[in-house]
Symmetry: C2
Subunit: 529 residues, 2 copies
C-alpha cells in the first residue's frame, strides 16, 4: 500500500548506509531521528465532514490521503500531524460524464473543488484553502485506462488519471511508448502532467508534455470544452496552451490525447567527466546546439558529482578520476555528465561516437556505461531517499528553474549560496548540490537539492524551510529565471508568478479563469489568489 505520509509503497525501503551517514555527518552534522506521528493519531485530528450527499467518500482516511501532496510543507504537516484543512468529501468519477455530474453537484452546493491526480505535487497544488464553503476533492484515479489508440497518427487517448506505469504498460502491449518520465512517474498522471506543464527526464527526445499533449477534454463550470486534436494550426491562439499549466483553475481535464512513438530498438546511457564546471557546461551547450539526437543530457556540478559517486560507492572511481585529471593539468573538482541515446541500433552507435567527439573538444573523459546505466536503473528512486533521510533526522527539498545559457552558472551558484546563507542564520549547515537536466538550444534547467537537519519541531522546521524557499525563489526571479521549469506554481510559487508574467499577464490568466469559472469554485489559491 502507498505510504500515507511519505513517498512510495510502504514495503519499499532504501535505507541510508553507514557511508552515507558518515558523509552527511561530516557535511552538516549528525541528525536526531525524525518526528513521526501515527496514522491513527492523525485520523483523530481530521475534522468531521458536513457532506451528506451519497456517492462520495467521506471517510477520514480517504480524505486525509487526498489532503496533501509531496512538498516539504506537506511533508512536515504529515510527519508532525499538523494536518490543516481537509476536504469534506472525495469524488471518484469513472469517466468524463461523471466528472460533469460531480462539477454540477459541487456547484449546486456552493462547494469548491480541488482536483487530485496522483497526489505528487511538490508545490501545494492540493492545498485546501479555508473560506467557509464546503470543499470537494475530485480524484481522477479511477479514470486510468487507454480509451483509444491510433497507430497511424501515433495518438493515444487516456483517462486523465492514468499514472505513468499504466500509461507505458498499456502502450507497450501495442509496441509503443509515450516517453514521459518525470521523477514522480510512479504515481503522477497524464492529466497532472498536462495541467502542471511537466517535463520528463528524456524530454530531449520525447519533448515536454506541451509537445506530447495533442488535445483533450476539459470539464468547466460552464460546460465541456475540447481543445487541440489537430497536428498544427494557425487558427488563432492555441487553447491547448491555456489548459497546459492551468492547475485546475479553468476546469478538470478528463481525458488527454498524447503523441506516442514506437518502442526504441536500443537505449544506452554514458558518463563523461569534465575537469571543470565551465567546460562541462560548454559541452552541454554544444551537444544540444549540434542537433545530435540524444535522448537525455544531465550535468552534475562539483558537489553533486562528489555526492553521487560517494553514495553510490564509487570512491575508487573518484580517486582514479582525480588522479587522471590532475595528470592532465586539471583541477581536482571534476563534474559528471550523463547522456542518453535512444533509437535504432545504428543511430545509437553513431550518435555515441559523435557525442564523445564533441565532449573531447571540452576535455571530456568518457567513463563508459556503468555509471549511466546505474542512473537509469535508479532514476525513480530519488524520492524514496527522503524517507530514509528523515529516519535519521534529515530533511530534503529541491528547487528548479530554467534560464538562458549566459545566466545559468551565475544563478546556479547564487541558488546554492542563498540556501547556505539561509541556514547559516540558524547556525545550521545545508548540503546543496545541483544539476542541469533539461537542455534547450536557448538555455537549460537548473535543479538544486538541499539536505539539512530537522530541528525536531514543526514550527522551527517550517520557519527554516519558509525562509529557504522565499530567499531562493527571490534569487531565481531576480536573475530572470522561471519560478518553475517542471513542478508548476501551486500555492508555493504563486507569489513569484507576477515577476514572470507581468501584471497584465496575471490579469489575462484571471480573466480566463473568470470566464470559465465565474463563481471561482475551481482550485482556489493556485497560480494566483
Amino acid at each position: 500500500m502507498r505510504r500515507w505520509n511519505g513517498w512510495g509503497e510502504d514495503n519499499l525501503d532504501y535505507p541510508l548506509d553507514a557511508k552515507a551517514l558518515a558523509f552527511l555527518a561530516e557535511r552538516i552534522g549528525v541528525g536526531s531521528p525524525g518526528h513521526e506521528i501515527s496514522l491513527h493519531e492523525v485520523l483523530g485530528k481530521v475534522r468531521e465532514s458536513s457532506w451528506t450527499e451519497s456517492g462520495f467518500d467521506t471517510s477520514a482516511e480517504t480524505r486525509l490521503r487526498h489532503a496533501r501532496g509531496q512538498s516539504y510543507r506537506d511533508w512536515l504537516a504529515l510527519k508532525y500531524g499538523r494536518i490543516g484543512p481537509v476536504a469534506d468529501a472525495v469524488a471518484l468519477p469513472a469517466n468524463h460524464a461523471e466528472v460533469e455530474t460531480v462539477l454540477r453537484d459541487a456547484a449546486s452546493r456552493g462547494a469548491r473543488v480541488v482536483p487530485w491526480g496522483g497526489g505528487t505535487s511538490v508545490v501545494g497544488h492540493l492545498d485546501v484553502i479555508e473560506a467557509g464553503q464546503p470543499v470537494l476533492n475530485l480524484s481522477l484515479e479511477r479514470m486510468n485506462a487507454l480509451l483509444d489508440f491510433d497507430p497511424i497518427s501515433q495518438l493515444a487517448r487516456f483517462g486523465a488519471g492514468t499514472p505513468g506505469p499504466r500509461v507505458e504498460a498499456q502502450l507497450r502491449d501495442r509496441g509503443y511508448l509515450l516517453g514521459h518520465f518525470p521523477q514522480s512517474y510512479e504515481y503522477s498522471t497524464v492529466g497532472g502532467w498536462v495541467v502542471t506543464r511537466s517535463s520528463g527526464q528524456q524530454s530531449l527526445r520525447y519533448g515536454r508534455i506541451e509537445n506530447l499533449f495533442a488535445g483533450g477534454r476539459l470539464v468547466t463550470p460552464r460546460g465541456s470544452l475540447s481543445v487541440g486534436g489537430i497536428p498544427a494550426s494557425s487558427a488563432g491562439p492555441d487553447l491547448r496552451e491555456l489548459v497546459l499549466g492551468s492547475e485546475g483553475r479553468l476546469g478538470i481535464l478528463s481525458e488527454a490525447v498524447v503523441r506516442v512513438r514506437k518502442l526504441p530498438e536500443r537505449e544506452d546511457f554514458h558518463a563523461v567527466f569534465f575537469p571543470t564546471w565551465d567546460l562541462g557546461v560548454e559541452a552541454m551547450r554544444h551537444l544540444v546546439q549540434s542537433d545530435l539526437p540524444l535522448s537525455m543530457l544531465r550535468l552534475s556540478n562539483e558537489t553533486e558529482t562528489e555526492t553521487q559517486l560517494t553514495l553510490a560507492g564509487h570512491e575508487k572511481a573518484i580517486a582514479w578520476l582525480k588522479r587522471y585529471l590532475k595528470l592532465r593539468g586539471s583541477g581536482a573538482r571534476p563534474v559528471m555528465m550523463v547522456f542518453g541515446l535512444t533509437g535504432l541500433n545504428r543511430e545509437v552507435l553513431r550518435s555515441r561516437r559523435e557525442a564523445l567527439t564533441l565532449c573531447k573538444l571540452s576535455r571530456g573523459v568518457h567513463a563508459g556505461r556503468m555509471i549511466g546505466q546505474g542512473w537509469a536503473k535508479n532514476r525513480f528512486k530519488g524520492p524514496y531517499l527522503r524517507n530514509g533521510l528523515w529516519k535519521f533526522g534529515y530533511g530534503a527539498d529541491t528547487v528548479e528553474t530554467c534560464i538562458n545559457w549566459p545566466q545559468a552558472t551565475g544563478l546556479m551558484r547564487a541558488i546554492e549560496q542563498t540556501a547556505v546563507d539561509a541556514f547559516a542564520a540558524d547556525n545550521e549547515r545545508i548540503h546543496a548540490f545541483t544539476h542541469l537536466s533539461h537542455v534547450y538550444r536557448q538555455g537549460c534547467s537548473i535543479y538544486s537539492t538541499f539536505v539539512f537537519r530537522s530541528a525536531g519541531d514543526h514550527d522551527a522546521d517550517f520557519a527554516r524551510w519558509q525562509r529557504l524557499k522565499a530567499r531562493v525563489s527571490e534569487i531565481i526571479v531576480a536573475h530572470g529565471g522561471t519560478i518553475s521549469h517542471q513542478h508548476g506554481v501551486g500555492t508555493d510559487h504563486a507569489p513569484y508568478l507576477e515577476a514572470e508574467k507581468g501584471a497584465l499577464g496575471m490579469d489575462l490568466l484571471r480573466a480566463c479563469a473568470r470566464e470559465l469559472d465565474p463563481a471561482g469554485m475551481m482550485n482556489p489559491g493556485k497560480l494566483f489568489a
Copy 2:
C-alpha cells in the same frame, strides 16, 4: 517599387508562356484579358481623411497601399477599383516607445487600429471595418532592424516589422539564420509571422514560428506586456501562445526575440516519384515518423505533379517516368515528392541514403536533384504567377488546412471535388491541384491551388469566389481539419473558427481581448466579431 495591386516588385515579371496557356486552355478554357483599373483612377476613389493630427501620413496613396492584403477578395477590389473603406491615416512608429504613443493617441481620439506588417495577408487581416470611428493603420515597416544578438543562447531580437530578407541578411552577416521561409517571405515580417502563427517551407527543420518565437513585447491599450524569454517553463499557461495568432486583437507586437542557428554547411533537395498517391502518402508518413533529420518534405498529388512538370518543361521526364512506372506495373498517374536535406555535409549524405531507402519501400523512384533544386530556386516565385495569370484572364486562389493522417486523403479529394462542383454551378471548370507540404508525426497540412477563369466583372468574380471559399471552408471543418494551418483567420476564416475552438473557446479568446482592450479598438472583426 512594389506593385500596388498585385504581388512583387513591378519590374519583376514571370509571364505565362505558350505552353502554359495551351495547358490552361485545354483544362479550363481560354480566358479574356483581366480587368485592371489604373492607380490614378483608384486614388480618385479614396475618401478624404478626417485625420488632422500631425505626425501621421494621410496621403491617399499611402492609405491605399495599406488598405488591402493579398487575398483573392483584396485582389478583386484592387483590380476592379472597388477599394472599400480605407484608414484615415497611417502611423509609422520607429520603435516600441513610439508604438505606445501611437496607441495612446488613437485611444484618445476613439480610433480603431489596424496593424500592418508586410501587407501579405491572404485572409483579410487588413480589412477596415466601417463602424463610425476613425481608423488608423499602424505600420511597423520602419521597425526593421536587428536590435540584439546573443550567439550563446542563439537568440536575436528584431523590430516586429522586419521582413524575411532583412531578417536573414542581418543574421547571415553573423553566420546565423532563422530559417523561416513562408511563400510570402519577400515581404512578410517577423511580427506578422508571430501574430498569424505562420509556418515556413522548412518548418520540418526549423520549426513553426511557435517554436522560433522565444518572446516579445506587446503594446496593448492597457500598457506593455513582455512575454516569454525563458527556454521553457511550467509556471502556468504560456502567454507567448496567446500572442501567437492574436492577429492584433490583444495589441501590437513591437519586438520579437527569435531562436536562430548557425548557417548550415550544405543543403540539397531531391525528387522522388511514386506510382500512386497512397504510396506517396505512406512514404511521407514513414519519413516523418522515422526521426530522419529532413528539412522539408512535400508531396504533390497527381494533378499538381502533372501541372508542375508540364509548366516547367519536363514533358520528357514525364514521358520517361510514365513508361518506367508502367514497366514496373504501376498506374499512369505518378506523384512527386521533394525532400530537403540541410546540415553538415556528412549528415546530408547519410540522411539522403536513409530517406531513399525508406522511399524504396513504398516503390519510390529517385529522380535526382534537378527538380528539387529547381523547386528551391523558384520557391518564392509562386505569388508572381498570379500576376501573369490575371493578364490572360485567369484568377487563382489557395486554401490550406491540417489534419491527422487517416483523414488526409479523404479531405484532399473532398476539397478538390467541392471546388470543381462550386464552379460547375456556373458551367465553369476549375483547375485544382494539391500538395502536402508540412508534415508532423500526427498528420500533415493540405494545400490546394485553384485556377479558374475571371468572369470579367467584379460582382460575378466575387460571387463565384465567395461560393468557392464558403463551400471549401465548410468541407474542411466538417472533416475536422483546421480552418488554417499557416495563413491565419482574419475576416475570411472568422465564421469557421468556432467549429474548431468551441463556443467556450471563443468566449476565452473574447475574454482575453476584452481584458487588454476594453474599448475594442484593436483590429476589430479579425478572429471573431
